[in-house]
C-alpha cells in the first residue's frame, strides 16, 4: 500500500474543507484529485504532505503502512511540487536541485561529487542539461516546472505530490509536459498524487481519478469508470460537456416532458421501478439526430438554432419544445445527409443517458459506499 487517508476532516474557521475523506493510493500508482476550486483537493494533498494538519479528532494518514501524523513534513519522504513552482529565486537551477541534498545532516549528506553527479543526472532527465547556471527567472514556465520536479526528486522521495502541476502553463506546453510526466511515471513508478481542476488532464494522465466536491470524494475510479459510469450527478456534470433535463422515472421508463422511453439498469442511479422526479443527463455525442422519431425509444423533437462546423465534429445548438437549450454533436457526413441547417426541426434519440432519481440526490446512502470504496 502506498498512501492511505482515513476519515480525514479539516475545518478552516467555520468552513469544512474536507469532510470525513478516505482514499487509498496503491504503491506505484498515479492518482488525480479532480474537482472545482474549493472542493478540498489541495487541502487533501497538503494534509498528505504534512503541510496542513487535519482536525484533531479526525482520522490519520498512513504512508507505506506507517501512521505519519506525528512526522514532520521533511521526515515523511514525500516530494512536493508546488503550483507556482516555488523555486528559490536567488539560487541557480543547480543549487535549486541540490538544495534538498545539501540541507541533510552532515552524516547523511552526500559528498560534493555525488551531489554534482546526481544533479547532472536529474538535469539530463528533465532535458535541461545546459541550464545548470541559469536562474529561475531566466526559464520559461514549463522549464521551471521541470526544475521543480527535479528538485523534489533529488531527495529520492517515496511518493510525489503535485499541486496543479500544469495550472500556470499555456495550453500547448501543458499538453507536452503532461505526456512527458506520464512517460516519466511509467519509467520510475513512483507513487504519485496530483491535484487538478482540468478533467482532460486527470483523464489522460491518471491511473485513477478521485472526483472531489465540497470537501468530499464523490467517486474514485479509472478514467473510464468515472467518465462512462459516473455515480453522482456532480461527477456526470463535471466530467465533460453534458445536457441536463428535468424529468421523471416511472416504473422503469424515463420521461422528458411528454416523451418517454426505456432505460437500462446501468443507466439508472436510484429507484428504477418507483415513481420519482429525476434528472436526466445526456452527453452531446450520445444524441442520434433523425428526421423521424425512433419508435419505442425516448425520442423528442428540437429545433436547430446554430450550427458550428469548424472542427472535426459538428456542434449543434438546439431548442426543445419546452424552450430548453441543448447541445448535440454529429459528424460532417451525418450533417450533410440530414441537410441540417438553422431552423430545421429534428428528433433526438439518446444512445446513452444517465438518470439520477431525486431520492438519490437527497439520500446520502449512495454517497457512503463510494467513500468507503477501496482499491
Amino acid at each position: 500500500m502506498g498512501i492511505e487517508v482515513r476519515n480525514i476532516t479539516k475545518t478552516f474557521g467555520g468552513f469544512k474543507a474536507l469532510d470525513d475523506v478516505s482514499l487509498q493510493v496503491k504503491a506505484g500508482e498515479l492518482v488525480a484529485l479532480l474537482g472545482p476550486s474549493g472542493s478540498g483537493k489541495t487541502t487533501l494533498l497538503r494534509i498528505i504532505a504534512g503541510l496542513e494538519t487535519p482536525d484533531s479528532e479526525s482520522g490519520s494518514v498512513f504512508f507505506r503502512g506507517v501512521r505519519v501524523d506525528s512526522q514532520k513534513v521533511g521526515e515523511r519522504g514525500m516530494g512536493f511540487v508546488f503550483q507556482h513552482y516555488a523555486l528559490f529565486r536567488h539560487m541557480t537551477v543547480f543549487d535549486n536541485i541540490a538544495f534538498g541534498m545539501t540541507v541533510k545532516p552532515r552524516r547523511l549528506r552526500p559528498s560534493k561529487t555525488q551531489i554534482r553527479e546526481k544533479v547532472q543526472a536529474l538535469l539530463h532527465m528533465i532535458q535541461l542539461d545546459n541550464y545548470a547556471d541559469r536562474y529561475p527567472s531566466q526559464l520559461s514556465g514549463g522549464q521551471r516546472q521541470r526544475v521543480a520536479l527535479a528538485r523534489a526528486l533529488a531527495v529520492e522521495p517515496q511518493a510525489l505530490l503535485l499541486d496543479e502541476p500544469f495550472g500556470a502553463l499555456d495550453a500547448k506546453v501543458r499538453v507536452e509536459l503532461r505526456s512527458w510526466l506520464r512517460r516519466l511515471h511509467d519509467e520510475i513508478h513512483l507513487t504519485s498524487v496530483f491535484v487538478t481542476h482540468d478533467q482532460d488532464e486527470a483523464l489522460e494522465l491518471a491511473d485513477r481519478v478521485a472526483v472531489m466536491n465540497q470537501g468530499k470524494i464523490e467517486q474514485v475510479g479509472t478514467p473510464d469508470e468515472v467518465f462512462h459510469s459516473p455515480k453522482t450527478p456532480f461527477v456526470m456534470n463535471f466530467l465533460g460537456q453534458v445536457n441536463q433535463f428535468r424529468g421523471r422515472m416511472e416504473r422503469g421508463r424515463v420521461w422528458i416532458g411528454r416523451y418517454e422511453g426505456a432505460a437500462t439498469n446501468d443507466e439508472i442511479n436510484g429507484d428504477a421501478n418507483g415513481s420519482n422526479p429525476a434528472t436526466i443527463f445526456i452527453r452531446p455525442h450520445d444524441f442520434e439526430i433523425s428526421t423521424e422519431p425512433r419508435k419505442g425509444r425516448l425520442s423528442f423533437p428540437a429545433t436547430v438554432v446554430r450550427v458550428r462546423s469548424a472542427g472535426n465534429v459538428v456542434h449543434v445548438e438546439m431548442v426543445t419544445e419546452a424552450g430548453e437549450t441543448l447541445f448535440a454533436e454529429t459528424s460532417h457526413q451525418e450533417r450533410a445527409a440530414l441537410s441540417l441547417e438553422n431552423g430545421g426541426r429534428f428528433f433526438l434519440t439518446p444512445r446513452n443517458l444517465r438518470v439520477f432519481t431525486d431520492d438519490v440526490e437527497e439520500n446520502d446512502e449512495v454517497d457512503k459506499p463510494q467513500r468507503a470504496a477501496s482499491f
Partner: protein, 303 residues
Amino acid sequence: MKRIDRNRVDASASDERLDHEAYCRAVKRATTESAFARGALIAFVSLFMILFLIFPLACVFFEAFADGARAFVRALSTKETLQAVKMTLLATGVAIPLNVVFGLAAAWCIGKFQFWGKGVLISLIDIPFAISPIIAGLLFVFLFGASSSLGRFLAEHNIRILFSAPAIVIVTVFVTFPFVAREIIPVFEAQGTDEEQAARVLGASGWQIFWRVTLPNAKWALLYGVILCNARAMGEFGAAVVVARNSVKTNTLPLHINTLYQSYESGAAPFAVATLLATISIITLVVKTMLEIKIRSAESTDG
C-alpha cells in the same frame, strides 16, 4: 454547457483587457501636458532643488575651507571632534545590529504569519516616525529620570544612563528602529511562504530555511533599511540633545557641530565637521540609489 460557458468568460476577459489598454492610452493622452508646460515644470523643480538642496550643501563645503585647509584639518582632529566621532560610531554601531535583528523578527512575524492584532503591531512600529524626536528624548528623560521609580532604582544602584553614553545609544535605537522592519515587511509579504514551504518539504530545518532561503531573498531590502538607519542614526539631533545635555563626553557629531556653531569663536570649524556628515549623506544617497536599482531588477525578474 459548462465548457462553452468557460470559453465565453475567457472571451469577455480578453475584451476587457483590450478595453483596458485602450483606456490607458486615452488616459495617457489626456494627462500628457504640452511641451511648454512640461519644460516649465521640470525647470521649476530643478531650480528649487538647486536653490534649497545643492546650493546649501555646496556652501557647507565652501565654508569649511574658508579658513584654509590647515584649519579644516585642525578642526577635524581636535579631541572633541574625535570624541564626537567615537560617540556617533558607538550609537550607530549599536543601533544598526539591533535594528537588523528587530527588523527581521518583526518583518518575519508580520509578513509570514496571520495573527490577531497584526494591524496594531504595524502601527506601533511606526511610532518613532510619528512623534517628534524631542518628545522621544523627553520620554526617556521621564523614564530614567529621578521622578520615575525606574530612575530611582537606577540611582540607588549607581547606574547612570541619562546624560551619558547609554542614553544616546538608547534614543538612537528608538528613533531608528522602524527602518529595517519597514523595508523588509513588504518584501516578505509579497514573497509569501511558498519558498519556505518548499525548503521545509525538502527537509531543511528552520534555521537552514532562514539563512538559505528567507534572508537571501530579503538581502537588498535589508541593506536598504540599514543604509537609511545608518543615515538617521548618524544625523540624529533632537532626541540626543535632550538626553545628552551638551557635555563634551556625550556629544555626537551633530551635537558637536551645534556646540561649535554656538560658540562663535570657532569660525569654519563647525562647517569642517559638518562636511563629515554631509559626505556620509552623499554616500548614503548614492548607495541608496544603487540599491533601488538592484531591488527593482530583482523584483522584475521574480519567479
